[in-house]
Subunit: 726 residues, 2 copies
């Protein structure tokens, strides 16, 4: 379950803490929705400060780079654009594809998961069962004069907070940093405070309302707006009654208009509905996992957080089906020693955000993480995020608090990645969802979504059972005979034994469907009998790691971005080779035609080795060409040089098939390190020299990750800067 | 533009031929729609006959296999299913993913295309411009009593054809096979004929109506229904007036309900709207191509052809942007010798379906294919389809006939793949769409979607230009001054020179917006001046290869399916290794725990080599396990055997890390050949033996395609069948 929570800086936590009673008895859809929107404005301010001082991160420069090099851009831009819809250009698409390819290797291939690809268009009954039709909604109000739409809870919150701030100003109290956060001037919807003193009782009332904001229903929010004269701050106009706005995109399937459908807001239901087929594919055995990468849609009311809050997005979800009585994991030992940064529910419940470092093994042993399977996936998520280049100092796992989770869930951890837009942003959710999903669909469809397991020892039990004289029943009750037998069969052990006792005394009555029926002793007999069962039948539990690919991708871009000291204008994206859109830049030193066969040869051989290379044979200087590809995050460059006659040794390839003999090839690495350290150090810009064969072999292995740069350096001598003659 | 045409057996062609005048002046959306639906029933019968005799193909067995092994299944099955929506299970997903991976390698990587990933949800104005809102529609009628929905043209056609057939029966004429085709008894909608003689004049009228069926508008179809007393055949009830049913799924973006949106019915618009960004990414130069893989949606009225006609599907589309004055292709020579089976428009126009074999080079030289770029892509499509396993004897390229194409298109070829459901089915379209798409979006948005090319020689031209005395104009015309200047500037060379002459005589008048304005001589001067242009500006043309992945996947499954003689019940899918869902089956000879480390070792090493393997350690016989994986199309098997002490030679791996020393590994290939031949011959079921290292190396190279089985046999000695002892 993704996107249940966006930020968790201290102030927000204290809010969360006090406002979550409502979610207790609701399914995932509400639990997910109630927190995620209000947090952006707080975290934005707090985090951009952190970044500027700690990382000298310049969001404006990054945005300019991403836009200029078409990583992504607002969709339908030439038509004026649509909020919350983005198109990925070539580098963004390739980056996304590489992240997904690594996701498939890391999870599906490595764990032997069963991949599925289910439809986006979904008939309404499915989401009625799952709870989305009723509850995947936000409350909104309309400005009664200009029609502007506002989220009801945000409106109350923003207006009351502004009034409290105005009160503080009037009292001459300096606002604490956390309380001052809402005053972010860039935020269009932000309500400006005016210095005006409030009665102490009013202040207390406002504070109480704010503390339990998520507890109010739509009508209650409407009542608050009337009671406290809350109007649309941007127009001063009154607003109407709160109405529920379902966040699923609705459509209609087929030509009659009688079959409503929705675009899925998550891929999960497609796994659950195919459970029986998947179980059979896995020879009837659990545990197993299904996995799916695909689009999902959420019709956000007013999305304004770039890739962090969009209306159409790519998700990658895993549903790991497991025996509820055995949540150990066979490969847990492989990850037990991984140390994570954890923010557990007890710390948060105490209003704090102090994280602790802990191995996964200890976290499970001490009960911090509920079970081995959940711990295993938390650790695997951590490994995956690090592998693709997320800075581990800006990654933590936050546990959902008791009231934050759906009532059926056993435990839930979010991988939160720090960024300048959303602060600590949930990018992966990892929940133990117990048996909820399969149970509701099974109940609705009457299909048994269960595992049947042969028992080594049969289970023997004695229980009461009723046997009916169907003829007698039919004669007496006619069409109601079925209702009567149903009513008897619905009785539990004690009820049956009571009825047996009554019937031994004479006629007995039983109620069903509001009617009362009189049973005669001869109509049925009730006896305790012995039953032997060889099969155990159970609904498996679901552990669900759920990845928001766009969010991860955006955070990765932030973590990878820096500028060289001597050229602040040009940014560098230090993306790891495994996800970099282009792996190798091929740069011929001159655009003269003699280079063409050599360029072709190197391109072809890299392509055959499965390495995605790109030629830059433009007329600009070699430095500019390197810089341009730094922006694209290209980790390696191969320069095609005129040979230096004084160093014949490495060039023992037969030069006959090349038009520029003798030749030289220079490899340079613009990105070597990974993780948190690279922002402080400059890239090495190391250059190495070798024959075509040697350089291609080294580059291929560098890209595949089978050698690192140090090993490459041992194979190829350093290039000493003696340039070839043109 | 995909899915414009589904089948082209002779009878259908003659129908097509006569009924396509309507499409001349309409954009792609109508040209595509008007043919594709009526062909299924004909081709189904004709082709299943062909298959049964020529290939002993059993569709029922294939369907059972695909369902049992969960290649794909109706979506929402436990909720009763929805027509035209399918979910892919693990083998289907993997097969699709592998086809797409090869597509990316073959097209995007090999050609250096720019991949994009654009949104599915699209605001209405985009499809208003493209023509989809107005014309991406079918005419339907409703049964006035029971509400059943029927496609209007199908209804007229089915009823009149049934009457003609009844007439023939009454006249004692034996129906020709083609004419008998509609009597497919399985087809629910098929209208049964009743022997009843018609007047000769009525027969002639019906035949004339049927011949031009695609020419009728909705109201005309309604007129025909009234004139000929056509009712709903399944109920006998009258039907209402034909109404247009747009095939796009509609929704609404944002909370106000004021922004209608559609789910894209193709991915193409996303390429066109991003053209300027892509051009810039490519340093302003054409030719270049963008490519995209993604979902598209069409709300078909009543889809009933399995994966060939669905409401949600995966497409892969390329838009190759090219200079309209130079459609040569630099790599054309590489494909010129490829021989294709072509069905050109002249043959079809003559009512025939005789194909001819021709090299792409000759086809372009002789003007059969319009230009090199189009020919290049046709050839590359051919190579791709063969590479993934399409039988080349069941693949042809059919040219669109003059009337079948949109008026702006230059040429269009469909890759048609023969199968038992749709006959010759369009699976890939390859069209030269000229400048249509970019032009309409540029006109609508006022964004210049053009290429600017520096000219080597500047172009010098002399032309008349008007210069205005703006003050004088403003004084006289006030707010209309802009209208007046606009009217003058809209004049062509001759008009300007005429106005110049008039003004030399005195005041002149000019009309605009229904008003007349009197221009005084002092208000403007008109002079011929010399202009020098250094830049050529043009709208590039688009060559569009467009792939329906689900259709290709289904045809591939048909072409790969066969049964061994000795076990007809169990099918085999001879999928090439490049697309096979699982590459290697690992079969330990016993499920005893001693095998576990060996199984783990082999699995791990194959995984590290990037080879997707699957372990089958169930308790069934080894033959059953092989058979089970034949059904999944697994091309290679590695059997983990107890070693045979009498053959120590190949086993020189240090056995220390294995728990079952000495050991043997047997490789067997269940699929070696490709293309059309395999159905006639049994798989070799060859077995080879070697050390772990040697077998893994050989299997890896077999899967990568760098060696074939013959080469593998040279490396590994044959296994002589001496089984190890358990």
């Amino acid at each position: 379950m993704l996107f249940s929570h966006l930020a968790s800086i201290p102030r927000l936590h204290s809010v969360n803490l006090q406002t979550k009673n409502l979610t207790r008895s609701l399914p995932r859809v509400l639990a997910r929705r109630n927190l995620h929107s209000e947090s952006l404005e707080f975290s934005k301010v707090a985090m951009s400060t952190v970044n500027k001082t700690a990382h000298a991160f310049d969001k404006t420069r990054l945005d300019a780079l991403l836009n200029r090099r078409f990583f992504y851009a607002p969709a339908f831009e030439i038509y004026g654009g649509v909020a919350g819809l983005y198109d990925y250009g070539p580098p963004g698409s390739a980056l996304q594809a590489n992240i997904l390819a690594e996701w498939r290797r890391h999870f599906i291939v490595e764990e032997g998961m069963l991949e599925v690809d289910t439809t986006i268009m979904t008939p309404a009954p499915v989401f009625e069962t799952s709870g989305h039709v009723a509850r995947f909604a936000d409350w909104m109000v309309k400005d009664t004069l200009n029609g502007e739409v506002l989220r009801a809870d945000h409106l109350v919150k923003n207006v009351l907070e502004a009034r409290l701030e105005g009160d503080k100003e009037a009292r001459g109290v300096v606002a604490a940093p956390a309380a001052a956060a809402p005053a972010d001037k860039k935020k269009k919807k932000q309500v400006k405070s005016t210095a005006m003193k409030l009665d102490d009782a009013v202040v207390a009332e406002y504070e109480s309302i704010l503390a339990q904001l998520d507890n109010y229903s739509g009508p209650e929010l409407g009542g608050l707006m009337r009671a406290h004269a809350i109007t649309n701050p941007s127009s001063g106009n009154p607003v109407g009654e709160p109405q529920q706005f379902n966040l699923m995109f609705a459509s209609s399937i087929g030509p009659t208009g009688q079959h409503p459908g929705f675009l899925r807001p998550e891929t999960a239901q497609g796994h659950f509905l195919n459970f029986s087929r998947l179980l059979e594919f896995n020879n009837g055995r659990v545990p197993f996992a299904s996995a799916q990468v695909g689009r999902a849609f959420r019709n956000e009311i007013s999305p304004r957080a770039g890739l962090l809050r969009v209306r159409e997005f790519t998700m990658a979800e895993i549903e790991h089906f497991v025996d509820p009585l055995d949540k150990n994991h066979t490969r847990f030992a492989e990850v037990a020693d991984i140390e994570l940064v954890l923010l557990d529910k007890y710390v948060q419940a105490a209003g704090q955000s102090t994280t602790k470092r802990m191995t996964v093994g200890n976290a499970v042993k001490e009960g911090v993480i509920a079970n081995e399977t959940l711990g295993y996936f938390v650790a695997r998520i951590y490994e995956f995020l690090l592998k693709i280049g997320i800075d581990k100092t800006r990654l933590r796992f936050r546990q959902h608090m008791a009231n934050e989770m759906a009532h059926y869930a056993a435990d839930c951890w979010d991988a939160e990645i720090q960024n300048s837009v959303g602060g600590w942003t949930e990018c992966v959710g990892c929940a133990d969802r117990a048996a909820y999903d399969l149970s509701v669909h099974a109940a609705k469809t009457k299909q048994p979504l269960v595992v049947r397991q042969a028992l080594k020892e049969p289970v023997v039990e004695e229980r009461a059972i009723a046997e009916f004289d169907k003829k007698a029943l039919g004669k007496t009750f006619k069409g109601d005979a079925g209702v009567v037998t149903g009513a008897v069969e619905a009785l539990d052990e004690a009820g049956l034994m009571r009825l047996k006792g009554e019937l031994e005394q004479g006629p007995a009555t039983i109620k069903s469907d509001g009617k009362e029926f009189t049973l005669q002793p001869g109509m049925l007999t009730i006896e305790r009998k012995t039953f032997k069962t060889n099969v155990r039948e159970f609904t498996p539990n679901v552990i669900e790691p759920s990845f928001g690919i766009g969010r991860i991708l955006y955070c990765l871009l932030e973590h990878s971005f820096w500028s060289r000291e001597q050229d602040v204008e040009r940014g560098v994206l230090s993306l790891p080779a495994v996800v970099a859109p282009t792996k190798v830049l091929i740069v011929p030193l001159s655009s003269r035609a003699e280079f063409d066969p050599l360029v072709k040869e190197v391109s072809l051989r890299l392509r055959k080795a499965g390495v995605h290379a790109r030629v830059d044979d433009s007329n600009t200087s070699i430095g500019k060409r390197y810089a341009r590809n730094d922006e694209l995050g290209t980790p390696f460059g191969v320069t095609l040089d005129f040979a230096c006659a004084s160093r014949p040794e490495p060039y023992d390839d037969p030069p006959v098939r090349l038009l520029v003999p003798p030749f030289a090839i220079v490899a340079h690495a613009s990105k070597l390190t990974n993780g948190g350290a690279f922002r402080r150090e400059r890239d090495t810009m190391d250059q190495r020299i070798g024959s075509i064969d040697d350089v291609i072999a080294a580059v291929t292995e560098l890209v595949n990750g089978s050698i690192d740069w140090a090993e490459a350096c041992q194979r190829l001598p350093a290039y000493d800067g003696v340039q070839a003659i043109d």
